[in-house]
Structures are given as structure tokens and as C-alpha cells.
């Protein structure tokens, strides 16, 4: 059964300017690169315009990295959830809750129990999110929206609305405030977790199952993939990552507080979508999400260095996010 190898051309990319479904299906192609180009362009613009304001100073770049790290860690996990065709709106609230539980455990029982408390918070919440979504079949948008309120309320109730001071030096150093040489530990967290997440999505059967579940749930199930289990795992993953983020917040701000992470869900999803992951599942990259988070971080930093008003910052940020994508796209065409 040999194929003749003459005839039809062989060296071809599948995608031309006229590809059938311009708006639709081509998207996953171009999206992959947009964020890198957009990031590079915005970075260069700021590097030029803000050269006299310390934008390029090592300290400022490390600041950007630090400020972005926690969002980036949640974004990595969110990549899995979005790739699986689900969403998790509760990440910010879980981070707040975990900062409270680990903070309380730290002051009462010490370091190891604090870490255990933080992680268990994430695992428990994630298991609830995952079960309700995967087994009961309630849309994850509603489940995690409900959980967002619940976790926030629980954190508020547990801490009695006060911040929980975090004063253990080891905890503070490991979670968020320490450095190894010149490198902030927060950056190491991103690098290590990022490498793990990237490998998991790209190179393991688990990652394949995530992508397949989001890319075509019916086809995935017909291929023997337990799509519910996959969704459960994805939501468990985000919640756990969010609880790590909560401990990082606690370490960085030296206090646990239920409001920490408020509004993060939107920044995290924005980072992931900027990074080229489809909100509809089936395609995405961890590295893209990290760069997406960095892009948002660079924009925030640059606008502050520019000395803009809050209102001008808001406007400029909106414009730049759209512009980064638009520029990134046009560069590729």
C-alpha cells in the first residue's frame, strides 16, 4: 500500500491568508506567537521612552518579575483549566483564604502545619469545585463563582476581618520575600513551577487528555478518556496553585488577609488568554500564559513610572492590552 510521492506539493504550511475560516479556526495558529511579539514591542517602547526613569534598571526588572510572579503561577494552572474547556473564577478568593488559613496555622502550630494548611485549603476547595463541575454537572462558571463568594466569606469569618500577621522568617523567606543570590525566590518559584507545568501540558498523557477534553469532549470520551476525571483534576490543580499563590502573598506582605487576591481571577484569565490559550478549550501554552502575565506586569509598571494619574493609567492599560495583541498579530501576517 505505497503512496506515490509525486504530484501534490509537499512543503507547505497549512495556513494561507485565505484560510476558510479566517475569524474562527485560524485563531489558534496566530495566537501562539502574538504574545511574544506584543510583549517585545511594548517592552521596547517602554525601554526607549522610560530610559531615564529606571525602567531598565536591574532592580525594576526584578520588581516586575516579582510583581508578576504570583499571577503567573495562577495563570499556569488556569491554562490547564481553560484548555480543558472549563473556567475557574475562584482562584483569587482561594488565594485569600489560603493566606488566612496558613497564616493562622503558622502562628498557632508552626511552619510545616502552616504549609499543610495552605495546601489542604486548595486541595479541599478544588475537590469541591471539581466534583460539582465534573460529577454533578453544574457549569464551572457558576460553581467557581459560588466558591469565590464562599471562600471569601469563609476567610473573612475565620480571620474576623483582621489581617493575620505572618512573622516566621523561614516562611517569609521561602514564600515570597527571600532571595537566592540576586534572584528573588519568587522568580525561582515561577521558573520551577513553570517548567513543571509546561512539561505536564506538552509532554505527558495528562496534558494530552486536558487538551483533548477541551478540544472535543465527545471525541475525547470516544477515545477512552475519562473527561470528567480530567476536569476534576484541572480544577483541583488551579485551586492548589491558588493556595500556593495565597502563601506567597502571605510571605510577601507578611500577613494573611482574606482580601488578598481580590480581582485576580480576571488578571489571571487575561494573562492566559493573552498568552494564546483559547477560552473555548483545546489549545494553549504555559509559557504563553507566563509571558501574558509579564506583559500585564510590564504595562502596569511602565505606566506607573510614566507618572500617570490613576484614570490615565486605566485608559492606557486598556489601550495597550488591545494594542499588544493587534501589533503582535499584524507583525506575523
Amino acid at each position: 500500500m505505497l503512496r506515490r510521492t509525486d504530484g501534490s506539493g509537499t512543503a507547505a504550511t497549512q495556513q494561507g491568508p485565505l484560510a476558510i475560516t479566517r475569524g474562527g479556526s485560524i485563531v489558534s495558529d496566530w495566537r501562539q506567537y502574538v504574545v511574544y511579539i506584543g510583549f517585545a514591542l511594548i517592552f521596547v517602547i517602554f525601554a526607549i521612552t522610560l530610559s531615564d526613569r529606571g525602567f531598565l534598571s536591574a532592580n525594576n526588572l526584578l520588581n516586575i518579575a516579582r510583581q508578576t510572579a504570583i499571577i503567573a503561577i495562577m495563570a499556569m494552572a488556569m491554562t490547564f483549566v481553560l484548555c480543558a474547556g472549563e473556567i475557574d473564577l475562584s482562584v483569587g478568593a482561594i488565594a485569600g483564604l489560603a493566606s488566612v488559613t496558613s497564616g493562622l496555622a503558622l502562628s498557632r502550630y508552626g511552619l510545616a502545619p502552616a504549609i499543610a494548611a495552605g495546601l489542604c485549603t486548595g486541595l479541599l476547595v478544588g475537590a469541591v469545585n471539581g466534583s460539582l463541575t465534573a460529577w454533578i454537572g453544574i457549569p464551572s462558571f457558576l460553581v467557581t463563582l459560588g466558591m469565590m463568594g464562599f471562600a471569601r466569606g469563609l476567610g473573612m469569618w475565620m480571620s474576623g476581618t483582621s489581617p493575620v500577621p505572618v512573622i516566621d522568617d523561614t516562611f517569609i523567606a521561602v514564600f515570597g520575600s527571600g532571595n537566592i543570590g540576586p534572584v528573588p525566590i519568587l522568580v525561582l518559584w515561577v521558573v520551577i513551577l513553570g517548567a513543571l507545568a509546561h512539561t505536564a501540558l506538552r509532554k505527558t498523557p495528562f496534558g494530552r487528555k486536558i487538551l483533548a477534553t477541551g478540544g472535543g469532549e465527545t471525541a475525547a470520551r470516544y477515545s477512552g478518556i475519562k473527561t470528567r476525571t480530567v476536569k476534576f483534576q484541572a480544577l483541583l490543580l488551579t485551586a492548589t496553585a491558588a493556595s500556593v499563590a495565597g502563601m506567597l502573598y502571605a510571605g510577601r506582605l507578611h500577613s494573611g488577609r482574606f482580601q488578598l487576591g481580590e480581582g485576580d481571577e480576571l488578571s489571571v484569565i487575561a494573562a492566559v488568554v493573552l498568552g494564546g490559550t483559547s477560552l473555548f478549550g483545546g489549545a494553549g501554552t504555559v509559557i504563553g500564559s507566563i509571558v501574558g502575565a509579564l506583559l500585564i506586569g510590564v504595562i502596569n509598571n511602565g505606566l506607573i513610572l510614566l507618572g500617570l494619574d490613576f484614570s490615565q493609567q486605566l485608559m492606557a492599560r486598556g489601550v495597550l492590552i488591545v494594542l499588544a495583541v493587534a501589533l503582535g498579530r499584524s507583525q506575523r501576517a
Binding site: 504530484g7 501534490s8 475525547a220 470516544y222
Partner: protein, 525 residues
Amino acid sequence: MIEASNAVEMTGIKKSFGGLHVLRGVDFAVKQGTVHALMGENGAGKSTLLKILQGILTPTEGSITVFGRQMNSFSAATSRASGIGMIFQELSLIPSLTVAQNIFLAREPRKFGLLVDDRTAWDRSRVIMSELGMDVDPATPVQKLSTGQMQMVEIAKAISQDARILILDEPTSALTGVEVERLFSLLKRLSADGVAIVYVSHRMDEIFEIAEEVTILRDGRNVATAPLRHLEIQDVVEHMIGKRVGSFSWRPRSVDRTRSPALEVQSVSGPNKPINASFEVHSGEVLGIAGLLGSGRSELARVMFGIDAMTSGEIRVKGQAVRIRSPREAMEAGIALIPESRAREGLIAAHSIRTNLSLPRLGDLTRGPFLDGTKEAASATGLIQRLRIKATSSSVPVRTLSGGNQQKVVLGKWLAMNPEILILDEPTAGIDIGSKTEIVDLIRELADEGRAIIIISSELAELLAVSDRVLIMSDGSIAREVSREEISVAAGEPNVSADEGVQIAKAEHNLQVLIQEVRLNAPAY
């Protein structure tokens, strides 16, 4: 005889996707009032050419004239306005809308000029569908239909447009003889009324039955255009793929039925269908399942594969009762299903050929905790060659493949599993004649290796060519079981001189009669 004028003239059509030149200068003309077949192997560019005509794709070069008027802008709306209607190979239905809403999509009957009149749409759908012999409530959402029924809706949608040029791109790949007959009588009436019809199909007998002329595409060019009455099947095939291949052949095989069966299905019922189905398949046997549209063949397969719940009955594999509540469990019991709907059940369209191929057996392609990229690529390349999938590389998304090549990916995905029990639901839908005969051979080879195979096919010739035994389903029940001998005996004369093709054709006719009979004798509920 007066030469009918050309309804469509396409000249020098070129089309490339990126660097891939699919059409390299095609000339194609269709006369009014004729049925014109467009032939070519999988990936030859048929669908591409027709989508250009329908305004969905813009050609890289070339000109198109419709009823003598040059087309300058390309859009689905302009083509529709100039009287072109099309049945798409990949279907153009919106699953969440009802049958009637789909049939009249974007040209709904109006009430007060402003509101859509669903009532009228419903009535008119009812009429069109009963004309096609289809008995489905037009208020049913399309996502609840079986693949074959969707194809009928797609046909109804195109026909209801009263197009003067009607394009049918593989309208019948999931339809059985009866529906095809109905469609053909309709097409004949339309062409008699002067409608120009372009017909694409890989079922050769259909072409010879309905079409008057044929154009054959190969390597991006039209290599032949001729009236069909001057041609034999073998000539057409040779033009298409460059060599003569045999059509379906019928070689008797012997099956050892003394050992215990590989699969026993005992009084199995599903949520709706099947009803109380019992049968068994032995190792080395190919069991065919025939039946009319909606008779529950696919649902039987789904129950066996753990997708639909089994409400009663028992399934035994190698004598052992097995619980199958999910595809995973079915796979663990050694059962694989090649599903009917490639778009929905078989493939993840945005993912590459390679990832699609490895999806059911990720566990086999790992080294340690990681996927073994080399092993995966080698396996994909092997399958692409073995099934002659036409693609530039294994990393292109399957949605960029032609319909037939997509179907081959679905096949490859499951063949690589090497399951003990293989269920194939319409496995060759859309696959060209050359590959189809090879796939029939392949299935028989698998049986020879000792696998138990169940095949569901609406193309009876294929079903007969491959099966050792045939079950006939009707309204969810297994109404009859026939062996090949019975069918050929029923054919009347023992096969002495007739060649295999003729034999198959006869048997096909007999099977057709049996299916009808079963349907008529079915108890009224």
C-alpha cells in the same frame, strides 16, 4: 439534439493554501438540466473547487461564469442569490437549532415582514422531508439526530432553496439504499426541470446510476471530462488514481465456530434502542449489521462501547461477563469502536493528525511519565503511509484535510490499537474507491489474524464484500440474521460464470429486499 447551455463555467481555477497548490488550473463546466459527476481520489480538490463555486473560498486565480454572467465577488450570499445551492460534505447544520430552523436558515419565511414564521417553516419542512421519505419532527433539534438523519436534513436544506444549480458534495455517505433511491428520483425530476446538478460521491454505482457526465480531477487538474455512458467503472477509477483496481470482491472465508465466541451480546437493551438484542461473534469472524436509517445500528454499537447506558442484558467477552459503563471499560475489555460521526465523535478538528492518532493509546506511547515523541511520530508516520493519508505532515490540524483523509485518520486511530473486538460504524464513509477496497482487505486481514469484527455500513456492496454473516436491524431490534450463502442462494442462480462484481450486485439487491421485508413485517407498536 440541441446542446444545452452551460449553467456554470469555471476556467483556469487555481487555489493554494499557503504553499500547498490544491488546484492548478481546473476547467469545469456543467450544462443545464444535467447531472454532472465530479470524481477524484481523496484530497483531489473536489470540495475545494465546489466551495469556490459556492463562494465560501476565494480562488487564487481563475474566472467563474454563472448563466453567462461573470462572478466578481465571492461570498456565500452572492452565490445563493445567483441560484446556487450546496450540500456540504462536512454539513452546514447548527446543532442547537431545530430541523426546520436549519432548513430555512438565513432565509426564514417571514410574518409581518419582520418576524420569522416558524410555523410555516415547520409545515414546509414537513413537506420536503416526507418527500425525502424522512419521518422526523421538524421541531427536533438537529443535535439529537443520527448522522444519517443529519445528512437528510442537509439535503432537505439544499433542495428547499429551489436552486438552479445544485451542488451535492457526498450527500449519501451515511445513507442506505432506500434514501438514496428517493434522493435520486428527486434529482432526476429536478434535472428534468433544467436544474444543473453537480454530484460528488465515492460510491461508483451511484455515479453510474444518476450522472450523465463526469469530470475527473487529479493532481489539481481536470484530467478527463466525458459522458458516462462511454465509460466503465474501471476507466473512471484509472483516471482517478492512475491504476485499475478491482471493485469489491467476494471471497468466502471459513470461520471456526466451534470454540466459544469472542463476544456474546445477550438481550441487550439501551435507553431507547437497541431493544433486546442478542447475537455473538467469533474470533476471526466479520459480522455485518444492516438496517435502514435510524434502525438503531449505531445505538447498538454505542451500548457495546459503554457510551449509551445498557438498561438490561449482558455482554460477555471470551465467555466472561463484563461490565461496560464507559469507553474506557470497553477498551479494557478489548473492544474498540470506530464511530460514525467523524467530526463529532472521531476527531478533534483543531488538533494535529499525530495527536489525534495517538489519543486512544497514550499509555502505550510513553517513556517513564512522559510521552515519547519519537515513538509517537514514528507511529503516526507509519499509519499515514499504511492508510495513504494525504497530508503534508503529521503535524497539520486534521481540519485542513479532505473529508476522506479525515476519515482515514479516524480509522488509523483505532487500527493502531489492535483491539480484540473491533466495531466499525460506517468506516469508509467518504473514502475513495481505491482506498475502500484496500480497507476492506485490511478488515479481512484483521479477521484472519483472529479478531472479532462487527461492521455497520450503509453501503451494502461493501457490507457484503466484507461480512461473513449479516444481521438486519429494524426499529432497534435484530430482526433477522442471514449468512452469505443464504443471500446468494436467494439470488436464485448459483454463481458459476458471473464475475464477483455481478455477484455482489445481485446479493446487494437481495439484501435490499430483505431489509425492506423486515421493515414491513415489523410488529406495530
